[in-house]
Structure formats: C-alpha cells, structure tokens
Symmetry: C2
C-alpha cells in the first residue's frame, strides 16, 4: 500500500495542469525530507520556498515572505504549492496558497505524526495573531494529502510523540469499536504507525466531510482543545513558563476536560484514570500555580470557538459520545487541574 | 423603492443573530456617511473601526489594523462587520472579515458609484501587494449589499464619475437591449442614478452568480481591465506619472481593448468612435510615452488573470458579445494607444 501513496500526486503533476510548482519547506524538512520527497515523486522542475520552523513564526510576516517568493517567481493562478513539513508549515502554507491571487491549489505532505493524523486534514488554514492561535485564516481544502511514515524516522522522540495526543483524541470521539481508545491502547505506536496514521486521520476526515465550516458536527473535534489551546497560548506569552508543544498542551486539555465530563456528564472515573495513566506514559506532567490558572481561564474567553461571552466546551458522556456546547464554571475548571496534577 | 433598502439589514440586526457589530469607515465615510447610516438603520450598539482612505493604503498593514481592532474589541465568530465606504474599503473590509477567525459575516454599504455598480458585488475581496492590485485575497460573498444613492451626494465630481467606467463596461457586456450602451448613453447620469445603480450592478450579479470562482463565464468582467489594471498599477509606481483613479485607468483599458477588438474580431469602428467620444466627455485623456508603454506591457504578464506566460484578453466581437482567452501581440498593444491618444 505504501508504494501507492504518491501515485495520485505523480499523476496530477504529469498531467501538466500546473504552470509551475513550488515546494514550501522549513530548515528541518529541507534537511531531512526534501531529497526523499523529490526522489519519490521524481519532480524535477520546482522552486523551493524556505521558512523558519516553529509556532513562534506562524504569523502574518512569514506568510508575507511566502507571498513575496510566489510573486518573485511569478506564480500564477495555475501554480501549485506543495507544503512539506509539520502542522505549522501546512497551516501557514495552506493559508498563503488560499489567499494568493484569491487561491491557488496546494498539496499537503505532512512530515510529523501531528500533521499526518490531524493538522494537514480538514481544510483549516491560518496563522497566529497577537499570541492567539489560528486567529487569522480561512477554510480551504488541500487538493491532496500524501501520508508517508518514512518522514517520521528522522523525528526526535518528543516531536514524534507530539502527535499522539490527537490520535488519543480521535480514539475518544469515534464510535468504531476497532479504533476506540481500548483498541488503540493495545497497539505499538512504533510498529503500528502506518495503521495509526491511516485510520486515525480517517476519523477526522469523516467528521470534517460531514461539516466543512464547523457549524455543528465538526465542533466535537474541539474536544481537549478549549483548555488545551489556552494553555498553549499562555505557555508562549508567559515568562515563568517554557513554551509547550501542541501535543503537550492537548494532553492536559483532554485530561482536564475529561474530569469536567466526569463531574458534569458522569463520564466513567475508571476510564478517566486509565486514559490519564496511558497518556502520562508518554507525556510529562506540567505544574501550574494559581496565577497561571487565572490567566489561562482569562484566555479561554478569547478563544475563537466561543459564542459571545460564553465558553463552550465539548464534553464526553462516555467514550465515543461527545456532547457539544457545554458551559462550565471557573471552580470546576480549577478542580480539573487539581485532578490532573494529582 | 428607496425606503426599502435598509429593511433586510434592519431585520437581521434586530434578530440578534450577531454578538457584536463593527462599522468600518475611512475618514471620508466617517465624516459624510456614518451619521446618515446610523440614522437610517437605527443601529445603537456598535464599535467603529477607522482606516485611512486610498488605494495606497489597500495593503496587508491596513488589514492587520482591522484584525487588531476586531481582536481588541473581542469580536467573535458571531460578530458582524459592516463596510461603509468605497471600493477600496469594501475590498479590504471583506478580506479582513473573511480571514478573521476563518471568516465572520460582513455587509457592504458602498458609498461611491464605483462601489455601488461594481466593487461591493461579486465576492472578490483583497488587498494589493508589492504594487500589484488585488494580489492577496479570497472569494467571499457579503451577507448583504445595501444600495443607497444618498451617499453619492457628498462626492466630488471626479470621485462620482470614477464609477461610470464600470457602468459603461457593463453596458458593453450585456445583451439586454434596454440596458445596452445605446440606451445608457441616452440617460442622465445624475437624474437617472437610481436606475443606473440598480440595473447596472445587476448585470454584474447575474454574470457572477453563474460562475462564483471565475472559471470561465465570469472572465468577461475582465474586459477593459487587463490593460486597465496594468495602467493603474504603473501609475502608482512610476515617478513620471500621477496616480490614476480606477475609473480613469479602466476607460483607457476599455478604449484600447475595443481598438484591439476592432482589429482582431471586427468590432464596429463606428461603435468604437461613438464610445470613445462618450467616455471622453467624462474623462480626460492621458498621455503615454514609449517607455511608459513598455513598462505597462511588462506589467501585463504579472496580471493574475493570465495562464502561464500568456496574456489573455477579453475582446468584443460586437456590443453584448464578449470573447474570452484572446492573445494579442505587442505591436497591436502599442497601436491601440495611438488610437486612444489620437
């Protein structure tokens, strides 16, 4: 199956439907992935656009650099942008492509586990703005997403595991028994990586394709992300805190929101403890003080997923049964961190 | 009929579907239009966002200012942005709204003739980039366009007539006899302004609604704009030239492209001369030297409407019969300016 992954991309490139091809990389994907990608796709005629990696560069200035290069190399409406990199790169590349000349086509080739199971799918593109994640962006689907676990071999252990939080999230949202959390927890994340990439990204695709513009059904994907995003934003602006990776933040989001689910909707305490133990095998525990929690709570009300001044959470009644539009109070928010840190 | 123009907007505002309302103005619409608008709509609770007018400010920095204000006032996904101003303002406001939180809703209230008959319709939003017009943008439809000729009363004569080039363009594209160029030329642009606004904007709407993403049919709206846009861009970057208004540039685009239509497709010389005489009643003639024309021609190949390195023109076989995807050579381009200046 793996050898087929590039066949569709090769076909559209050979068809000459594109006037020019651009490959967006950062210093990591330039060094570790570009040669592999070129060898596998046999693309010979392309321009490389290189940006600097990292969430701190996922901003409008980096986007301007990409527009500038597209403009310099005279990209036109029939040009193609191939985004080769992690979630930050596919988010920003997708946004740059979708706004250049009111939209050129783009292909995502995720090179991290996070990108493969989550970020490169679903049509959300964008950049951060004023320390708020994904504040500026559009919904725009890639022409194609190429999944190839070969790129994961060059990742550090921390970078690899960063994507696993989203895999766990998908296992908690699906009602397919063979992909539920229980089944997932029995897999070997190294040996079974191809199975994980294919199946757990598909859970997201199925949810998204039923609701492209996040009017309702798609909201369940925000599970773990209401608190998770606020923690991630806070870790990037606070002096007393080291910046957290997306996955590290989402794990805390999942565990606190599951605790809130337990208290509000009766989510099983046994399942909650099992999930906590499983996740803390892979992710270290982070400590928060009272001031941290106050500030994280304040950030919640800026989160783009809220209506007016209400903070809407996705909670779980049980595994595979998410409930949207749940309001919580601050005491329960604080309690959920006590549970997490315990 | 005029009294009804705000009823639909009033209805959606009263329905409480929006968490907050923002009105985007520039110094002109703030001074001349905002009070009128507030009085007519009876909106009481809103935040004003003010930008500086002018094509030279239609850039990503102005857009960042708008995002910044939306963010500062905690706009969320259910906020509404009302764009009250000319074509530059509705273009940039539409883009800012369509990319803020991956898209909030917006309403256009054009205050210039250009905005009323052209810019505020059709879903093209965006900003200029590196001296190229509308290089960055998205297709995104306003929730509503409110047409009210009362705003035109405060415009200078030059600013008013600026939109008339697009009216003439629409009259050359339509095959409705009662709106064709011949009928239009018999109207009084002051007394008949309500008729003009309603009917000539509708010509555009009908073309656009049959082709939202400019795959084919919509291309005919580029008539006059291939050369016109290049002239406008050039006038903004050249030291030897004063910046031209959009309408001033488009008039030259219409006349040169009609001359090319005459030479390549047999467009009637009699009609061409009639149209030239009519337009030069309203717009002064501009002089170009050989160097100007070389540079304008070079700018053409950057124009976003071109496939690869070909320059595609929309030409007219006769009034009401546009033909897309026509390639021309440079000699004919030069000749068309000789005709225009004659």
């Amino acid at each position: 199956m793996k050898t087929d992954r590039y066949s569709s991309l090769e076909k559209i490139i050979k068809s000459n439907m594109f006037s020019s091809i651009f490959i967006l990389v950062d210093e990591n994907s330039h060094r570790f992935c570009l040669d592999v990608f070129i060898k596998k796709t046999k693309i010979s005629d392309y321009n490389e656009i290189k940006i600097i990696s990292g969430e701190e560069n996922k901003n409008i200035n980096t986007c301007i650099e990409i527009w500038d290069k597209l403009n310099y190399f005279k990209a036109d409406r029939n040009s193609l942008l191939i985004n080769l990199g992690g979630g930050v790169l596919t988010d920003i590349g997708g946004f740059a492509a979708s706004t250049y000349l009111r939209g050129i086509r783009f292909v995502n080739v995720p090179t991290t586990l996070l990108g493969m199971v989550d970020a490169s799918h679903g049509g959300k593109t964008g950049v951060d703005f004023k320390s708020l994640k994904n504040q500026i962006g559009v919904f725009s689907e890639p022409l194609e997403v190429v999944l190839d676990s070969d790129y994961l071999k060059t990742l550090s252990k921390e970078e690899f595991i960063n994507g696993y939080a989203e895999v766990v999230k998908h296992s908690l949202l699906t009602n397919k028994l063979e992909l539920s959390f229980d089944s997932l927890s029995k897999l070997d994340i190294n040996k079974d990586v191809d199975f994980i990439i294919e199946n757990y990204s598909e859970i997201k695709n199925e949810i998204v394709s039923s609701d492209k513009y996040e009017s309702n059904k798609r909201k369940i994907l925000n599970f773990g992300h209401t608190i998770g995003h606020a923690i991630e934003s806070y870790s990037h602006i606070s002096d007393s805190f080291k910046p957290l990776r997306h996955g590290e933040s989402i794990v805390i989001g999942i565990l606190t929101e599951l605790y809130i689910s337990h208290k509000m909707l009766g989510f099983s305490l046994h399942d909650l403890k099992t999930i906590k133990k499983h996740l803390l095998n892979y992710f270290i525990k982070i400590k928060f003080n009272g001031e941290d929690l106050d500030k994280i709570y304040d950030l919640l009300i800026y989160d783009k997923k809220n209506d007016g001044n209400r903070v809407n959470f996705v909670l779980l009644k049980k595994i595979g049964e998410p409930i949207i539009d749940q309001e919580i109070d601050k005491d329960l928010f604080i309690d959920s961190f006590t549970f997490y840190e315990k």
